[in-house]
Subunit: 407 residues, 2 copies
Amino acid sequence: VDLFRSLMKSAFVVERQPCMPMHPDRPLVIKTGVQFTNKVRLLVKFPELNYQLKIKLLFNTAWFRFAFCTETKQSRKFNILGTNTKVMNMEESNNGSLSAEFKHLASLIVTEELHLITFETEVYHQGLKIDLETHSLPVVVISNICQMPNAWASILWYNMLTNHPKNVNFFTKPPVGTWDQVAEVLSWQFSSTTKRGLTIEQLTTLAEKLLGPSVNYSGCQITWAKFCKENMAGKGFSFWVWLDNIIDLVKKYILALWNEGYIMGFISKERERAILSPKPPGTFLLRFSESSKEGGITFTWVEKDISGKTQIQSVEPYTKQQLNNMSFADIIMGYKIMDATNILVSPLVYLYPDIPKEDAFGKYCRPESAPEPEMGGGDSTNIIQPYLKTKFICVTPLPKISHNPSM
Amino acid sequence: VDLFRSLMKSAFVVERQPCMPMHPDRPLVIKTGVQFTNKVRLLVKFPELNYQLKIKLLFNTAWFRFAFCTETKQSRKFNILGTNTKVMNMEESNNGSLSAEFKHLASLIVTEELHLITFETEVYHQGLKIDLETHSLPVVVISNICQMPNAWASILWYNMLTNHPKNVNFFTKPPVGTWDQVAEVLSWQFSSTTKRGLTIEQLTTLAEKLLGPSVNYSGCQITWAKFCKENMAGKGFSFWVWLDNIIDLVKKYILALWNEGYIMGFISKERERAILSPKPPGTFLLRFSESSKEGGITFTWVEKDISGKTQIQSVEPYTKQQLNNMSFADIIMGYKIMDATNILVSPLVYLYPDIPKEDAFGKYCRPESAPEPEMGGGDSTNIIQPYLKTKFICVTPLPKISHNPSM
DNA sequence: ACAGTTTCCCGTAAATGC
DNA sequence: TGCATTTACGGGAAACTG
């Protein structure tokens, strides 16, 4: 009987972890006020167990709450490091409040708080009542979608570094990961939502951002803080926030170009210069902005200046806001330099290494001129005056005269 | 005592009608799930009435519900025309359902349903208890902000045509208005939310849209249907929806230009041709799109073609979507015609009647080149390579060769 | 004051109801 | 089926809160 009971208990499992329907790629992050779905299953199936399983869902069950948490306010908790019982001693207190005595009380930020969702049910078999219980992996609860990037980072870090099913204190002392683990996870962030993961070259550029210049990153350790909590040197945002905004940019604005492999994306400016310099003028590549938190993309091309010297040029990165109105393919195809006499010339000819830009981007451009749906002239005039079609193009006006950049 | 009682009753008034804080210009429209505020006041104030008035708010009180409405579902009602009592007669029924017998059951669309919010309180004075009650003007309840234009039209029409404090059946047979009344309301829609109402010329253009060509619109009648329910001839939207989207465009995208009086806006294409033709080439005016439901704005200019003939040209109207990324002033200042040799020329010189465009729009343009916040070149290279600044401009590419428009 | 967090609510899209 | 209406929820902004 005990054997049967324990068999049944291990057969009650979470088949699909809690997940918001709008974010199938990011399970275990749930948002207040937004529905989530999950699935539990009883793996054994006897014909005589002819019942409808009633499943009860509990959030942060009492056992976990008492073991690990002290409550503050309604729903948020603070995890206690070490013991949660201590003899209170008024004399040790220096501010009159006993709460200060919990020296190990560590307040986690909301996206590092892990919660468990517990499922309970009961089955009856041959007069025997068996209570079954299972629970989700640790879940992060957010209140605004802008917390999704950090919340998802927590889920990634947890599942990259532990198989423990319910270590809700994980982030009170988050373990380090190796570059090899991180690289796999980063590439998977792309391959699971697009048709293309990250190349060795792209990953090496990312490793350099996290760990500094080196010849071999294998085995290097990366802390949770480095990955997600500290701002990058000279930047106002963390590595992960930067990268996640790029993932978002790729998915929403340049997915087709990414899938084609047209976007080198992650490449250092030194390497960019090295590979473009020997190429014919007009050769260009596409890379992400390193300085924009929100995710930006730019192109860099090689040209010869008036003295015949090779120049590497980039435009100011395009933002999601700009890509809302104009596809990146249209921007690339239409980009022009305007000289002092108002003549337009495109500096972009070949996508690195040598693909004519028309071949690469032509099929992703808006057709040049659609039929005219509306007439600009009055309905009753005999001269039908069609509206002039317009298009937005992106131009760089050159200064009228060359001068040094001190101005 | 009765005098005192009735004095008190008339002293309990709604000081501010129900209104969503985010829409102070549009009282009496409230949205499900969004807070609204209102204020009631007792105008008399005796020192001995030293109490805190407790106000109770009721939505569609029983009396109104029973007098005018039969309930369906939870909250929406159908208004009954004529009597609401009738002897039921199974034999007259042709579908087995008695509800079909209410021949005058008229279903109003949601933005024509009027509701009353009632406020109740009680005061005690010299041993006398007085029940007080007052109510809001009729309110429209919407469930999505996209219903706001039609809901606001209902509030406008109601308050333009009646002083009745609670005629919730108003839209079962909405009265007509005169052009004079409508014109005042339309101008007020602009003057109450911007610094400028509508001119006689602008109003005349609008009158022509509603009533057709005429020399004098004063006294002409405009039906509710014409104003808000029927689509305009050849268009997929009503007069009011068109106009309200323009009001929104003005408020959100071109408020400064509107306040300056730079936007002629409402002008027929015939009149536009008449006033521009005698002007020097490059003279232009700004007007709203007549064909776009969403609110669009364009410019029309006069030019001489190669044969010296005067031409009137307009560009395809700009949408809110486009104005999100680029201000209209920037578009006007940057607009260029591109000829076959890739040379850019601006066809816009003077804002009608004769204001140089720089004088009118220069101060509303983004400064030509801001300081460079980010370097495109690598941090460790000795050649600092600034990102090239870019701007979007709106161009009309001319066809390579003149041909007839049959293509 | 200030930063982390939540609330508010528009506006687009999808679902629902009739 | 098609149209009217509601629901869902991202995303920007404001409000809240310690």
